[in-house]
Structure formats: structure tokens, C-alpha cells
């Protein structure tokens, strides 16, 4: 592929500067995505990026400025963006298509189903602004059903990073993976939770700790809340395990079954509707493979609303304290 002189120059300037890493850093997963995409762009000329007029918010702007020939802003037309990404993949490139999760999975759902997934095209759908921590913009912009929408589509792999460190690894892994991938990213800063030696693997959940009483299976922003909830509960003498289920599909049943072994209660935790997402996946898996008591933490068949992210976490009962209270109530 022909590189423009400017791009070549940039590559030279930036090569050998070492790999930026967000291990241990509190950062929004969208910021980690933008940075990782930029690095990937330097290394691999096959990476192309699409956006639908939200590049400053999705953080694809950094890639856009560095590699303008490989960046396609299609304007406010998400359906066109998804299928155009499909065409770029057919040409042998590796497209990352970004917009807000509501639009990527909702507005363009049928394009994702028909063009991307049915033909199994090598497109990476990296959507930001998932969940209620979008904040003040309110319900119209808060995707609480995106995991569910993607999970029902065959050939789709779903990744939900818990922090910036995991997000940057997922961007690289998604590029190496052959086939459609949905990466769910957030707007608000997320605490660092993954250890510095963590090596993400698509399809492999990460077990922080094994509990004797309760096992919390969390994803995305809810991993840090779940870790804090486990501390609250351990002070009350309850042994709680925590798992980061960052690949929602394919579901890592093996790690899941090991983690819940001997527990009395399983808890799912996600910044998403309890219908159809991680909680839904666990309910389906549990009821067929190992029936036991499950409580699902998430939004409960409702739309979001305006407010600051932290206010909304309280409003929708998604905080560590809410998880702990729910566990105590249900353990009886």
C-alpha cells in the first residue's frame, strides 16, 4: 500500500517510542481506544477507520489526523457507515467503524446483521457511549440494550473491556481476529482494575478471586463496582468471588462454572439492561447447565435519564453498595 510521505514521516518519528500502556491508569475506555487505534494505525497500513460525525467523541480523531487517507467520515449516516466498512473489509482492509452504541447497534442493526455478520466480514464495530454513564445527554444517547442486540446475531464476537488497559488490548486483539467484532466502550473515566501483567484473550474470562458463598460475574464498568462490593461483603464475613466476563460472546462457560463452584448465589453485574445482556446470557447458561439462584444487577427494563454519571449509578442502583445490599438481601 502506498503511504503518503507525511504518514511515512510520522511512522518514523513515532516508532521506537515504546508502547503506551494504560495499565494502572484510570481512563475512559473510549480514550484508550483512540490511543490504541492510533498506534495500530502506525503499525498496520491495513487498518482503516470510519466514523459518522462523532470522531471527537469516539476518539477516532487521533487516527483521522494522523492517517487522513485511511479515515472515512461518512457524515451522520450510521447505516451507510456500517456497510461501507463491510466494503472496505471485502477489499482486504481491517475497518474499525465507530459511533455511539445506540446508533451502531440500533440504527444500523439490520446492516450489522445482513451485511457484516451474515457475510462474516472482517469489520470491527467499536462503539462508545454505552450505558447510563453517558450522563447528561439522557436516554436517547444511553445504550442499555446494545449487548442484547449484538448477542442475538450469529458470527458476532462481543468484547466489553473493564478498563483502559483491557480496552487497548482488545483493540489489538480485535484487529488480529478474523471476523466481526463488537467492542463496547464508555464515555466516563473508568478505574483501573486489571493487573499490570494481565494478558487479555478473546473468549477468556478473568477470575479475580474465587468465593465460597457468592460469585459476582461482572462486565465493563461494573467490574470495579463488583470488586468494591466484594470488599464490603467480606467485611461482613461473606466470601465473594469476582469474575471479569469481558467477552460476552462466545461465553466462557468453563471459567464461569469453575468460578461459581460451591457458591450459593450467582450475581451478574452490567451497565446494561438485565434483559438480553450478560445477565441474560448467564440466566440462559445457568438454567441449562447448573440451575441455581441468580440475581441480575443492571437496569431493569427501563430507559436511562439525564444526570451526572455518578448520580445515575446511584439512581439505577448500580453502585458497589447496591450490589452488596442486593447480595445480603438475597442470601437471607
Amino acid at each position: 500500500m502506498a503511504n503518503r510521505p507525511a504518514e511515512e514521516e510520522l511512522r518514523k518519528t513515532l516508532s521506537g517510542q515504546g508502547v503506551e500502556t494504560f495499565a494502572g491508569k484510570a481512563i475512559a475506555t473510549r480514550d484508550a481506544y483512540g490511543a490504541a487505534l492510533y498506534r495500530l494505525g502506525m503499525e498496520n497500513p491495513k487498518i482503516v477507520v470510519l466514523d459518522a460525525d462523532l470522531s471527537c467523541s469516539t476518539k477516532t480523531i487521533r487516527f483521522a489526523q494522523a492517517f487522513p487517507e485511511r479515515f472515512f467520515n461518512v457524515g451522520i449516516s450510521e447505516q451507510d457507515m456500517v456497510c461501507t466498512a463491510g466494503g472496505l473489509a471485502l477489499a482486504g482492509l481491517i475497518p474499525f467503524a465507530s459511533t455511539f452504541a445506540v446508533f451502531e447497534t440500533g440504527r444500523a442493526w439490520e446492516q450489522v446483521r445482513q451485511t457484516i455478520a451474515y457475510s462474516s466480514l472482517n469489520v470491527k464495530l467499536a462503539a462508545t457511549h454505552s450505558g447510563i454513564t453517558v450522563g447528561e445527554d439522557g436516554a436517547s444517547h444511553q445504550a442499555l440494550e446494545d449487548i442484547a442486540l449484538m448477542r442475538v446475531i450469529p458470527n458476532m464476537t462481543i468484547l466489553v473491556p473493564a478498563d483502559g488497559f483491557e480496552a487497548e488490548q482488545f483493540v489489538r486483539l480485535a484487529a488480529e481476529f478474523e471476523g466481526p467484532v463488537y467492542i463496547r466502550l464508555g464515555r466516563a473515566k473508568t478505574e483501573a482494575v486489571m493487573p499490570a501483567d494481565y494478558k487479555a484473550v478473546i473468549g477468556k474470562a478473568y477470575t479475580f478471586s474465587k468465593g465460597r458463598d457468592v460469585c459476582i460475574i461482572a462486565t465493563g464498568t461494573m467490574v470495579s463496582e463488583s470488586l468494591k462490593a466484594s470488599e464490603i461483603l467480606s467485611q461482613k464475613g461473606i466470601s465473594v468471588g469476582v469474575v471479569n466476563m469481558s467477552t460476552i460472546k462466545p461465553f466462557d462457560g468453563e471459567t464461569f462454572l469453575k468460578a461459581i463452584e460451591g457458591c450459593r448465589l450467582v450475581v451478574s453485574a452490567e451497565e446494561h439492561s438485565v434483559i438480553g445482556g450478560l445477565g441474560g446470557a448467564i440466566a440462559e447458561f445457568l438454567s441449562e447447565r447448573a440451575p441455581m439462584r441468580l440475581i441480575r444487577i443492571g437496569t431493569t427494563d427501563t430507559f436511562g435519564c439525564s444526570g451526572t454519571p455518578s448520580e445515575l449509578m446511584k439512581t439505577f442502583r448500580l453502585t458497589a453498595g447496591d450490589i452488596a445490599t442486593s447480595v445480603l438481601t438475597n442470601l437471607g
Binding site: 500500500m1 502506498a2 482503516v48 487517507e69 485511511r70 472515512f72 461518512v74 457524515g75 449516516s77 447505516q79 451507510d80 457507515m81 456500517v82 456497510c83 461501507t84 466498512a85 463491510g86 466494503g87 472496505l88 473489509a89 471485502l90 477489499a91 482486504g92 482492509l93 475497518p95 439490520e110 446492516q111 445482513q114 451485511t115 451474515y118 457475510s119 462474516s120 466480514l121
Partner: protein, 278 residues
């Protein structure tokens, strides 16, 4: 693939007739499918596969091939006939159309059939795909052209106009879109269901070069495809006026043959008209 002499339209007309015969035979065997829109597109698809496009049926993944995206995926039979008659697969496979286990799905599936570039069937998506493909090929310095065949009713889909804007914005001149303008859609005449006109003005306003032709005149089709290749800096649309069901009098311009396969009697009449033996 090239005809014996590059502008030998009588040879191509013969191929188009053969295409129509195969389309009708496979639809009859399937017992269902889209007769009208397959026949209206037969001359255009023949011109592309037997004359204009650079492709190699023995090497369907050849990186420098021209690409064809059948955005009006319900015309799958005409694509399958072209692929079979140019040698992508054995012609006997056409008899399996729409049957369980067949690679010849009711609407084209690229996962199941070599030669199909991408799965289509849900209207409105093909032009966006064609844009991405054309821009991706251009980015890599490949000389390939991308052809995208749309239905006329299909342009009622909003996404088509999103793609029309994108192609123009990015000056995608290795792309040629063709509208099979047969004037009918499932519920009736396009003009009555949802007015399309003024179609030429709309595409011009979106920044396209537009060529209006008779979509059944082989010489006109070939000339338009050549002229489109010469247009630089903008995408070209060929608005091909066609007749739904073209080639068989009992099907021509009849809305009821949009999604219905011919009966045994109809097939016999059709094959006789098309001059097929037996």
C-alpha cells in the same frame, strides 16, 4: 471473459437469451423466486459478465478482478445464471436453487457460493458496500472497477441516498451503479407506490454523472459501461430503462410476476418464445 469480437452484440444477445432460459428453468424447478426482476436485468448482467468485467471464473479471488454487487439480491437467478454460464460452477447446480443445502440460496450468500462477492437481499445496502469496496481497492492502488446493480423500487430506501452522498463526497470514480428501471415493485407501479421521479435530476443533484439508456439494447449498455469508465472524479450512474419480465411476452410489464416462478405451462410458452430446444 471477452466475446469473440469485443463489440459483437449478436453473440452477446445470444448469451442473454441463454441467460433468460436458464433463469426460467431454475425458477420453475425451484417453484418460487423472482421472475420479473431477473429477466429485466438479464441484458445488463450479460453485458457485465460476458463482455465488460475483467474476471476469471477459474480464480474467483483474483485481487485485480472487477467486482459486481447485486444490491437487488432478489434477482439472484440472473446472477447464478451468469456465474454458471461463465464457468464458476457446473450448470447442473442451477437446479438446486432454493433447495435445502444448496449454495444457491433464495438471495445470494457469499459464504456459500464462490463468485458472489457479498451476501445481499435486504434492499438498500449494496451501494454502501460497493462504495467501501471501491474506496478500499483504490486505496491499495488496484485498478479494479466496482459495479452495483440496484432495483428501481430499492432507491426508496434512505440508505441508498446516504451512499449516493458518500460516493460523491469521496469522488469514487471506480464505481458504476446501474438502476434496473423497470417501473414495477411488489405492490404495483413505482410511480403509484412511491414516486421515484425525477430520478435523473436526483442523482445529478447528488453529484453523480448520469447516463440514461435502454437497458435491453446491448450496444447501448456496452457503450454506457465504457463511457462510465472514462468519467473521472465522480461516480457514474447508469439509469437503464427496462421492462419487467423482458423476453417473454406473458411476463412483460406484469406486476404479478415480481415474486412468482413460472408454471409448467408458462415455462413451455417462455422457452418456445426464447427459442430453446425442447
Amino acid at each position: 471473459m471477452k466475446p469473440p469480437q469485443s463489440q459483437d452484440t449478436s453473440w452477446l444477445k445470444g448469451k442473454a437469451r441463454q441467460m433468460r432460459i436458464e433463469v426460467l428453468k431454475m425458477l420453475y424447478q425451484a417453484g418460487s423466486g423472482h421472475t420479473g426482476g431477473s429477466l429485466s436485468a438479464a441484458d445488463i448482467v450479460t453485458a457485465l459478465y460476458f463482455a465488460k468485467m475483467r474476471h476469471n471464473p477459474k480464480d474467483p479471488d483474483w485481487p485485480e478482478r472487477d467486482r459486481f454487487i447485486l444490491s437487488k439480491g432478489h434477482a439472484a437467478p440472473v446472477l447464478y445464471a451468469a456465474l454458471a454460464l461463465t464457468g464458476y460452477f457446473d450448470i447442473s447446480l442451477l437446479g438446486t436453487l432454493r433447495k435445502v443445502g444448496s449454495p444457491l440460496q433464495g438471495h445470494p450468500s457469499s459464504k456459500l457460493l464462490k463468485g458472489v462477492e457479498v451476501s445481499t437481499g435486504s434492499l438498500g445496502q449494496g451501494l454502501s458496500i460497493a462504495n467501501g469496496l471501491a474506496m478500499g481497492l483504490r486505496l491499495q492502488g488496484l485498478p479494479s472497477r466496482v459495479y452495483c446493480l440496484l432495483g428501481d423500487g430499492e432507491v426508496q430506501e434512505g440508505q441508498v441516498w446516504e451512499a449516493a452522498m458518500t460516493a460523491s463526497h469521496y469522488n469514487v470514480d471506480n464505481l458504476c451503479a446501474i438502476i434496473d428501471y423497470n417501473g414495477l415493485q411488489i405492490d404495483g407501479r413505482c410511480a403509484e407506490v412511491m414516486k421515484l421521479e425525477p430520478l435523473v435530476d436526483k442523482w445529478l443533484a447528488f453529484g453523480w454523472h448520469v447516463l440514461s439508456i435502454d437497458g435491453h439494447e446491448m450496444a447501448e449498455i456496452l457503450d454506457a459501461l465504457d463511457r462510465a469508465e472514462g468519467i473521472k472524479g465522480k461516480p457514474t450512474l447508469i439509469l437503464a430503462k427496462t421492462v419487467k419480465g423482458k423476453g417473454v411476452s406473458i411476463f412483460e410489464d406484469k406486476v404479478q410476476y415480481h415474486g412468482v416462478a413460472p408454471s409448467k405451462e408458462e415455462l413451455e410458452i417462455a422457452l418456445k418464445e426464447l427459442g430453446a430446444n425442447g
